[in-house]
């Protein structure tokens, strides 16, 4: 299977672990992610707060660059996913807006017809297009004994309603039960990670981060699994600052869900970008996943 792929800026560097683990998992499951040639930044939320038309045009350039033979576009970053999907929806629902955006695209000799490409988040692709049977098949190192707290954030589950709940999404939960993990059903799994608040107003952002970490701790999770570079960054990189701010001592590894899929598929942690997280996952993995390899 082949999908057009929009990695997004973070994947290049900050979220390199997400990128390598995504590619590794794709190899195991047997699908190909063909990167859009010369894609540009999706504009994050910042562009949309300034100039909607330009924001959409910037995003639409990527849609227009999708190889005309594919109609499925995968984005692993929640924010990129939302911007791409939102722009596509706007162009489909509001022909006037679609016309204007295309006028802008025409300045770069491009054109995009709203609805041509189906924008999907990576989790949706793995969950729906492969599903329980195929994923179970590939498990060689079940995650028994590991308590994982799936964290979905906001942008994938809410603004554009899919088939999962906007309040208590379950798809990652289900996926990790297939892998043998103990899934922690904690109440804040789709609450906000603080988003760009970390850069605007730290006290607010830290409080949002604290709530998530606290809830995961209350429910005795070993690690939080995430599906967005922004969430990972906020929960992981800011964890020590949050500890300093509130005088807490959180030490919760924040790992991309693809990284743990890779572990269950028997891949080497090194191939999966482990070690790049600021709060190290290694001790937890060592303690919980003692060389129980089955084939």
């Amino acid at each position: 299977m082949k999908y057009a792929y929009y990695p997004g800026c973070s994947m290049e560097c900050n979220a390199a672990a997400y990128e390598v683990s995504t590619q590794a998992v794709a190899r195991v499951l047997g699908f190909e992610l063909a990167e859009i040639d010369d894609w540009n930044c999706c504009g994050a939320t910042e562009y949309f707060s300034q100039d909607e038309l330009t924001a959409c045009a910037v995003v639409a350039r990527n849609l227009a660059l999708v190889d005309s033979r594919t109609d499925q576009l995968v984005a692993p970053c929640a924010a990129c996913y939302l911007n791409l999907a939102k722009t596509d929806k706007l162009m489909t629902d509001d022909p006037e807006m679609g016309r204007k955006i295309n006028q802008a695209l025409a300045a770069g000799s491009l054109h995009y017809e709203g609805g041509r490409v189906k924008v999907r988040h990576l989790l949706d692709v793995i969950y729906h297009d492969f599903g329980e049977e195929k994923i179970r098949e590939k498990v060689v190192r079940p995650l028994d004994g590991l308590r994982v707290a799936p964290y979905y954030g906001c942008q994938v589950v809410r603004p554009i309603k899919g088939d999962d709940s906007t309040e208590y999404p379950m798809q990652m939960d289900e996926m990790f039960t297939w892998l043998g993990a103990e899934v922690v059903d904690y109440p804040v799994k789709a609450h906000c990670c603080g988003g760009h608040m970390t850069q605007i107003s730290e006290p607010q952002a830290f409080e949002l981060i604290r709530r998530l970490l606290q809830s995961a701790v209350d429910y005795e999770a070993d690690m939080i699994l995430c599906m967005c570079p922004m969430c990972q960054l906020n929960l992981d990189a800011y964890q020590s600052r949050v500890n300093g701010f509130f005088n807490t001592n959180f030490s919760m590894p924040i790992i991309y869900f693809t990284q743990m899929l890779g572990i269950a598929f028997g891949l080497d942690p090194k191939e999966l970008g482990f070690g790049k997280e600021l709060v190290a996952a290694e001790p937890v993995l060592k303690a919980k996943l003692t060389a129980k390899t089955t084939t």
């Binding site: 904690y186 606290q214 809830s215």
Partner: protein, 667 residues
């Protein structure tokens, strides 16, 4: 001989005259439409003066056809037909033009409105010329009545009719009558004991000589029409012989199979595999729940049959079909509770101490699973604080747009019961406090006095994610207190969700069987929302209680009584008119192709083998006209809607287009 037509254009005060120049329409019709003898406009045609005017003109001017251009025929066609009849004109020589609903109320532009009105008057005038005198059929009204649904509304209707001396069949799909009211402990605003006021009615219905109770039964099929319905009812197998059983209850007592009662006890209590839903059930005859009975699932047990002193248990019993004939039908099928799991942020089903309103009613009920003790899900701990959340699934375009009308009051009632029975603090989270019936606002005042806390704000979420030590182990209700403009988090032990009152899941399906429709929200549509609230568009079918819209017990009872009164009116009159609108086949011309035969939904067309032609069985035909449109030989004719009439109507409606086409383009 040319017809003599009278045309009457109504102002309806300013309702029509505001957007249509009615005087001009009348003047124009008098001048331009052939055979029009009188054309008048009048303030209110349906007034007695308006009707008298028509009657007088028929007599004085010798009118042979009448057109009234006023409101919808569904409102006043009967009125004017009667007027014609009074003056000796066959009522089917009258035609009504709908200027109000179809022109003035939907149009802003007086010039265009007037033009449309003219075309519609012309259509009626052209058509009326071809109308034929018809003789309505009168049929006797069967004095027996079917009431579907044995809640308080259905019980009331059944008892009123039975007391008046008429036969009633009361069909209830549960094993006992009683409906939702049987589940409550107290009823607002007077706090009467629900059982004390309901049980007498239930047992009266069970014993009344004029009432045949058909519990554990469902409507299968309805045929016929007003005055003479034929109804097939499925009596589901109880596996207990109705006549032998004395209702001693030994079987239930001894039955070894205990299960959670998701029905009457709302999941809080248990019952046996052979059970009556509650001790005061009417009838007292139990039913076996075959999905859970060990004998039915595994072939072993039969304890009930061994202990039954009257040998009433019959494992071989089958569903039974009963056919009854009635003159009228009253639907009183009530409501169902909103599925509170659809709002996951309130935690129902996930957080143990979140309850629905109906669960809580059972908790408060002295005859309920906890003997009326208000305790948490563990069955023993008394809560120190309880939050009641209003509008769960109501006033929300994602679920039910409407207000459930009773849950503000029910919340106050539950608040009162909590304050009476426990020391808990009670919080009500409301958007608007809707207490607008007699003694309701006083009840609200009473709760304010009793110390119930009120927070104005729709709850955002109920969570167990504590943010500080005093929230630990509690359910935290997060909302914006809109009177303060501040976000608040209130930790409590228990949460009660005031789930919405929704239409029954099968309301639409049942309505269809009886020929009535539902509103977008799913409530049965009444004939007129203000002036005819219990009748429906289908003659002989009435609605009562919450199946027509969310309401409290007093209003449900009032509607039950009103529906019964309407039915009594029909019975006393003894006869009803049936519209003489049927199809007829011109046998001479029929080619015998038999295309029409399979088309009729009522199998009203038979094929006469000997003559090689088809014939309509008039008694079965309902006049839909499908066969008429299908006959390739064009030999079927629909009375009052024949081709000639419809073609004339089209021609009239397009008088201006025809005029334009007649004039050469160059002019």
């Amino acid at each position: 001989m040319a017809e003599r037509i009278g045309i009457y254009v109504c102002h309806c005060g300013s309702n029509i005259a505001g957007t249509v120049d009615v005087e001009e329409v009348a003047r124009w019709a008098g001048k331009n439409i052939d055979d029009v003898i009188v054309a008048k406009d009048y303030k209110f045609m349906c007034s007695s003066l308006g009707q008298a005017m028509i009657e007088e003109d028929i007599k004085k001017e010798g009118l042979t056809r009448v057109v009234v251009a006023a409101c919808s025929p569904h409102l006043h066609e009967k009125t004017f037909r009667r007027a014609c009849e009074n003056a000796g004109l066959n009522p089917y020589l009258f035609q009504m033009t709908n200027l109000r609903e179809h022109v003035s109320w939907v149009c802003n532009d007086k010039v265009k409105g007037t033009a449309k009105a003219k075309a519609m008057v012309a259509a009626s005038a052209e058509r009326v010329k071809y109308q034929q005198p018809l003789t309505p059929m009168y049929v006797d009204v069967n004095p027996a009545t079917l009431v579907v649904g044995g809640g308080i509304a259905g019980l009331q209707a059944a008892l009123e009719l039975a007391d008046a001396g008429y036969k009633v069949y009361l069909v209830e799909r549960e094993p006992s009558v009683g409906g939702h009211m049987a589940q409550f402990d107290k009823t607002f605003p007077t706090l009467d004991c629900s059982a004390c006021i309901l049980t007498p009615k239930m047992s009266e219905a069970g014993q009344h000589e004029n009432i045949t109770l058909l519990t554990y039964s469902e409507l299968e099929e309805v045929s016929g029409s007003v005055g003479n319905f034929k109804v097939k009812i499925r009596k589901k197998a109880r596996y207990v012989d109705y006549d032998k059983c004395t209702g001693c209850g030994i079987c239930s007592e001894k039955c070894p199979r205990k299960i959670v009662d998701e029905g009457f006890e709302a999941g809080l209590g248990t019952r046996k595999a052979i059970y009556t839903p509650f001790p005061q059930a009417v009838p007292r005859v139990p039913v076996i729940d075959t999905e859970n009975c060990t004998y039915f699932t595994r072939g072993k047990c039969q304890v009930c049959s061994k202990v039954c002193p009257t040998e009433a248990i019959d494992y071989e019993q089958k569903d039974e079909m009963v056919e009854i004939e009635v003159g009228n039908i009253i639907l009183a099928t009530g409501w169902k509770l909103f599925d509170c799991k659809k709002i996951p942020q309130y935690g129902y089903g996930r957080l143990a101490n979140v309850f629905t309103n109906m669960e809580f009613e059972r908790l408060c009920n002295a005859a309920g699973p906890t003997n009326g003790k208000i305790v948490m899900r563990d069955g023993k701990t008394e809560p120190k604080s309880i939050a009641i959340i209003h509008c769960v699934g109501s006033r929300d375009v994602n679920f039910n747009e409407g207000c459930s009308a009773v849950c503000c009051m029910a919340a106050l009632k539950l608040g009162h019961l909590i304050l009476e029975k426990t020391k808990a603090e009670v919080y009500s989270f409301y958007i608007d406090m809707r207490t607008n019936q007699k003694m309701y606002e006083e009840f609200y005042q009473r709760l304010l006095h009793e110390g119930m806390h009120f927070v104005r704000g729709k709850v955002a979420e109920v969570t167990d994610a504590a943010r500080n030590p005093n929230e630990q182990g509690k359910l935290i209700v997060q909302c914006e207190d809109t009177l303060l403009g501040k976000q608040r988090r209130i930790p409590v032990d228990m949460v009660v969700l005031m789930g919405a009152i929704e239409p029954q899941a099968d309301a639409k399906e049942l309505g269809l069987k009886c020929g009535i429709s539902c509103s977008m929200a799913g409530w049965y549509t009444e004939r007129h929302p203000k002036l005819d609230p219990v009748a429906t568009m289908t003659d002989g079918v009435f609605v009562a209680g919450t199946c027509q819209g969310a309401k409290d017990i007093p209003a449900s009872v009032a509607q039950g009584a009103a529906a019964a009164a309407r039915v009594q009116g029909m019975i006393t009159k003894g006869k009803v008119m049936i519209e003489p609108i049927v199809a007829t086949i011109n046998e001479e011309a029929c080619s015998g192709c038999r295309i029409c035969n399979n088309l009729c939904p009522y199998n009203a067309i038979e094929y006469l083998e000997d003559k090689g032609v088809s014939r309509v069985i008039t008694a079965l035909c309902k006049g839909c006209g499908t066969c008429v449109a299908a006959c390739p030989a064009g030999v079927i004719s629909a009375s009052h809607f024949n081709n000639q009439q419809v073609f004339a109507e089209i021609e009239g409606a397009l008088w201006d287009a025809i005029a334009e086409c007649r004039e050469p383009e160059t002019v």
